[in-house]
């Protein structure tokens, strides 16, 4: 069966690095977002009217849980090596992944400079070391620490980080991205 899961969509063309949300976007609803916001309100009202407000509420529970349970909010840190952040769960799909690619503000980070730490004690691998024969395994509730070495960003500026993961079992690419201003980690 063959099932698209929650969040599966064909939104790739819209959300691909070359067309994604502008990196200087600010929180809140700016003018260019007013149209989609009103559309969402209309759709929400339509769903609520047809199926009851409970349904909107329940959909929101799921969406919020996904949004807060993958990327650990405010974990994006700028440090001497570059950027790092934490994932608390696999992004949408569990299992073994044959490749992981990362972008910061639409610029791909070379896989040799992407380090992934899993398990306790942390075992680190670079994204370049991940392959179909040596996949990265991601399980529910198991955190992954991500270090993007030699990535520099402007101070106090939001960046958009994008991940693309390729499952060994199911072809469609899984993608996840977040926008946040990194905190600066104090020097030891």
């Amino acid at each position: 069966m063959t099932h698209r899961r929650f969040g599966e969509s064909e939104g790739s063309t819209l959300a691909r690095p070359n067309t994604q949300v502008a990196p200087d976007a600010r929180p809140g609803v700016s003018d260019h977002r007013l149209g989609p916001a009103l559309s969402l309100v209309r759709q929400g009202l339509s769903v609520g009217r047809e199926f009851g407000m409970h349904s909107l509420e329940a959909l929101l529970w799921v969406a919020e849980t996904v949004e807060e349970s993958v990327y650990v909010p405010r974990s994006l840190v700028r440090n001497a090596e570059g950027l790092s952040f934490m994932l608390a769960n696999p992004p949408l799909r569990v299992g073994a992944f044959s490749s992981l690619r990362f972008w910061v503000d639409r610029v791909e980070v070379p896989s040799a400079r992407v380090r992934l730490g899993t398990g306790s004690p942390r075992a680190w691998r670079t994204a370049a070391e991940i392959s179909g024969a040596a996949p990265l395994e991601l399980r529910p509730g198991e955190p992954t620490e991500v270090a993007l070495d030699q990535v520099s960003t402007g101070v106090e500026r939001e960046v958009t980080v994008r991940l693309e993961l390729q499952s060994v079992a199911i072809p469609p690419l899984v993608w996840f991205e977040f926008t946040e201003a990194p905190r600066t980690e104090a020097s030891p």
């Binding site: 599966e8 064909e10 977002r33 989609p36 759709q43 349970s69 079992a169 072809p171 993608w175 991205e177």
Partner: protein
């Protein structure tokens, strides 16, 4: 209760244990704890735990026993397991203690009860510490791989309650815990908010010779607003046997109402029917909020997926459970959209991809909606219930409207792909976290791109049109059926003109930008029983699909091994799928390739035998090894069942007349076969076949018209008739 003797051997290894009630499920590996490590998308993941209202309540739930000489996990002191009515039982021995554990899935409150009964044979009283640990999950199963990171925990008089947004679980025991722990630190009660990796409770028992000490645990929940009053949970906890008895009684009643099939010449097939029927029963769900249906599968598709439901409902009709089918259809139709909702990937007239309590529902498949007119027509033919079917005429018209909006003006073919693209469009510009899976298309093989006119989608669209026309003719729809028949004919002409692939003696898989997509997939077999193709081409398709690049000894691949894109572990580009094997069986029997059809059916049956009665979703394409596979999928058992009735027995019914047509496809070396308790409307038929005659008995209120090839007769109520088997079996 009729239990087998305790045995340390137990069931075959690696056979999951699935206990269900209509609102809950319990998953375990049969070693004593609620653990179930399964290969999942290439990695080992533990799916053990309790599921309530289609929400995963807990991760693995473990019990350990501590005595003066140390602590031991329940699974490490296992001495035997037993299947028991309505429950699963394990026996354990630790020092002087003999412990019996019973596990029961309970529907109200939705969850599971575990009861330990500890005894010692003689000597002074002894103390036993029972330690229970679990991790809360509290998220619907439709979100495959996420365990929430923050919870609200609140102590209660008998245990605790854990909440995560609108989801909640209640955990209590019959013996008050002596100590509680959160995240391995002692917890004095009250309230806690934050990450919860583990909940643990300690319970002290004193065991006296001749007087077993008992403790029961209840872990239940789902939607927070559905958490019932505490005294209801306490009542269930105080009498776990009552829940087990109720489940067993309901199962027995259901099974007693289903057909009995006997194949004396094929005992394996007869056994497989029993497995498949029992497995389908385990998928029945009524999780609350008026929803009824069948769960798609376990462990990770434990929700109502409407495409999967559509494959299960025909089998449910043949099993005679018309009421469950009507309630399932009504549940799905409640969520038909009347307006466009890109946020959920839905368009007017569309039926949901998935529904679960909340209600939570999502749209965006190209095929799900198309199954349902045919299901309503089939429901009407089996049940004869015109009144109920007539209530859905507007639903069917909206379905056709949805399909017509996607119909190519030139070819009449349905265009698919891009069903859900607006989900990301609608949400992506506003949120600071965005995510998705680039599913390019949403046919039954939804991990691959089969745009724009996959062959099986065209068959479905044509069936939907013809079913709507049939319902119109039957007075169940007010819309003109004439145009729908013409539209169906147009599809058939286009398929005959555009899809034949002469070099392969097969059909193209799809058309894209006007060009054929030359890939050999089993989906083309869906045309064989559709009536679109001429018999010679249908026969050629069956023989082509039987070649070893598509057919393996363990089933049928989703893509030819000769295709450049073939990957033996790719979900829909090489793995063997049980449903595809059932399609091949159906097609082979339909064209008179009886031995081939039987071979496909036996393949499915043998797999079920090896899998302890379950039916895997899929297997690697290069060896008979389940990979990335739910151990039970409704979509694997139901088409097998349907094929037994519709193709091996060759049955079709119309309860409105009432009429039974039978055209069996039994092999030439069979000498008998029988079928009892076949419901047709409010009557019941029985069939008894020998190579010489078919005896049909009938107990309905009106005479039954029967047809078999060139013969026909009328069976009076309470009577029977013998028809000559005057045409050699095919």
């Amino acid at each position: 209760m009729n239990l087998s003797a305790a045995s340390p051997s137990g069931p075959p290894p690696n056979v999951p244990v699935l206990l269900t009630s209509l609102a809950s499920a319990v998953l375990l590996d049969g070693r004593g704890d609620l653990e179930l490590p399964r290969e999942t998308r290439g990695a080992l993941i533990d799916w053990g735990g309790v599921y309530g209202q289609l929400i995963r309540l807990s991760g693995p739930w473990r019990l350990s026993l501590a005595t003066e000489s140390g602590a031991t996990a329940l699974s490490d002191c296992l001495t035997g397991v037993e299947k028991a009515p309505g429950r699963w039982r394990s026996r354990h021995r630790l020092g002087r203690f003999d412990v019996i554990q019973d596990i029961v899935a309970v529907p109200s409150p939705s969850g599971a009860i575990r009861t330990l009964s500890a005894s010692i044979p003689e000597g002074p009283p002894a103390s036993l510490l029972v330690v229970s640990t679990f991790a809360p999950y509290l998220l619907p199963v439709l979100v495959e791989g996420i365990r929430p990171t923050a919870f609200h925990v609140e102590a209660s008089s008998r245990g605790l309650t854990v909440r995560q947004r609108g989801f909640a679980l209640d955990y209590r025991s019959s013996v008050t815990p002596s100590r509680m722990f959160l995240n391995r630190a002692a917890w004095g009660g009250g309230r806690f908010q934050g990450p919860v990796e583990q909940v643990a409770s300690h319970h002290e028992l004193t065991v006296v010779p001749g007087r077993p000490a008992t403790i029961s645990f209840l872990l239940s929940g789902g939607l927070e607003r559905d958490l019932g009053p505490s005294n209801v949970a306490d009542a269930v906890l105080s009498d776990p046997n009552a829940a087990a008895r109720a489940i067993d009684a309901a199962d027995r009643t259901w099974e007693q109402g289903t057909p009995i099939l006997r194949f004396p010449n094929a005992p394996g097939l007869e056994r497989a029917y029993g497995f498949a029927r029992a497995a389908l029963r385990r998928l029945y769900t009524s999780p609350g909020e008026g929803l009824t249906g069948l769960v798609a599968g376990y462990p990770w598709y434990s929700s109502i997926w409407c495409r999967d439901l559509a494959w299960m409902l025909p089998a449910t009709l043949w099993l005679g459970d018309f009421d469950w089918v009507a309630r399932s259809l009504a549940s799905v139709f409640r969520f038909q959209l009347h307006a466009e909702v890109p946020l959920l990937g839905g368009e007017p007239g569309e039926l949901p991809m998935q529904i679960s309590p909340g209600p939570i529902f999502l749209y965006g498949t190209s095929d799900t909606t198309l199954y349902y007119p045919g299901l309503v027509a089939q429901y009407l033919r089996h049940s004869g219930n015109r009144e109920t079917a007539a209530q859905w005429s507007a639903v069917i018209e909206r379905i056709l409207g949805w399909g017509q909006a996607r119909t190519d003006a030139v070819t009449g073919l349905l265009r698919h792909g891009g069903e859900a693209e607006e989900i990301a469009t609608a949400t992506g510009q506003l949120t600071r976290v965005r995510y998705g899976i680039d599913s390019p298309d949403t046919t039954i093989w939804d991990s691959v791109n089969r745009r724009e006119h996959a062959i099986d989608v065209q068959v479905l669209w044509r069936q939907a049109l013809l079913a709507a026309a049939e319902l119109h003719e039957g007075g169940a729809s007010a819309s003109p059926g004439r145009d729908w028949v013409q539209a169906a004919d147009r599809i058939a002409r286009s398929v005959r003109e555009l899809y034949p692939w002469s070099e392969e003696g097969y059909l193209y898989d799809s058309l894209r930008s006007g060009a054929p997509v030359a890939r050999v997939r089993p989906n083309a077999l869906r045309t064989v029983t559709s009536g679109i193709l001429d018999p010679d081409l249908s026969h050629a398709l069956v023989l082509r699909a039987a070649k070893e690049d598509l057919t393996t000894p363990w089933g049928v691949r989703t893509l030819s091994a000769k295709d450049p894109g073939y990957d033996p572990q790719s979900y829909h580009d090489g793995e063997v799928w049980t449903i595809a094997t059932a399609w091949a069986a159906e097609a082979a029997l339909a064209v008179g390739e009886v031995e081939l059809g039987l071979r496909y059916l036996r393949t499915i049956g043998e797999r079920m035998d090896l899998e302890g009665g379950w039916a895997n979703e899929c297997y690697r394409g290069d060896r008979p090894e389940a990979f990335d596979s739910c151990f039970l999928l409704g979509f694997s058992v139901a088409p097998f069942l349907t094929t037994l009735f519709e193709r091996l027995w060759g049955l079709s019914v119309d309860a409105r007349v009432p009429r039974l047509e039978v055209d069996p496809s039994f092999p030439s070396d069979w000498d008998s076969s029988s079928l009892e308790q076949l419901r047709i409307g409010s009557g019941v038929a029985a069939l008894d076949w020998t190579p010489v005659r078919m005896r049909i008995s009938w107990s309905g209120p009106d005479p039954l018209q029967v047809r078999m090839r060139g013969s026909q007769a009328v069976v009076a109520p309470g009577g029977s008739v013998d028809l000559p088997v005057n045409v050699p079996t095919r």
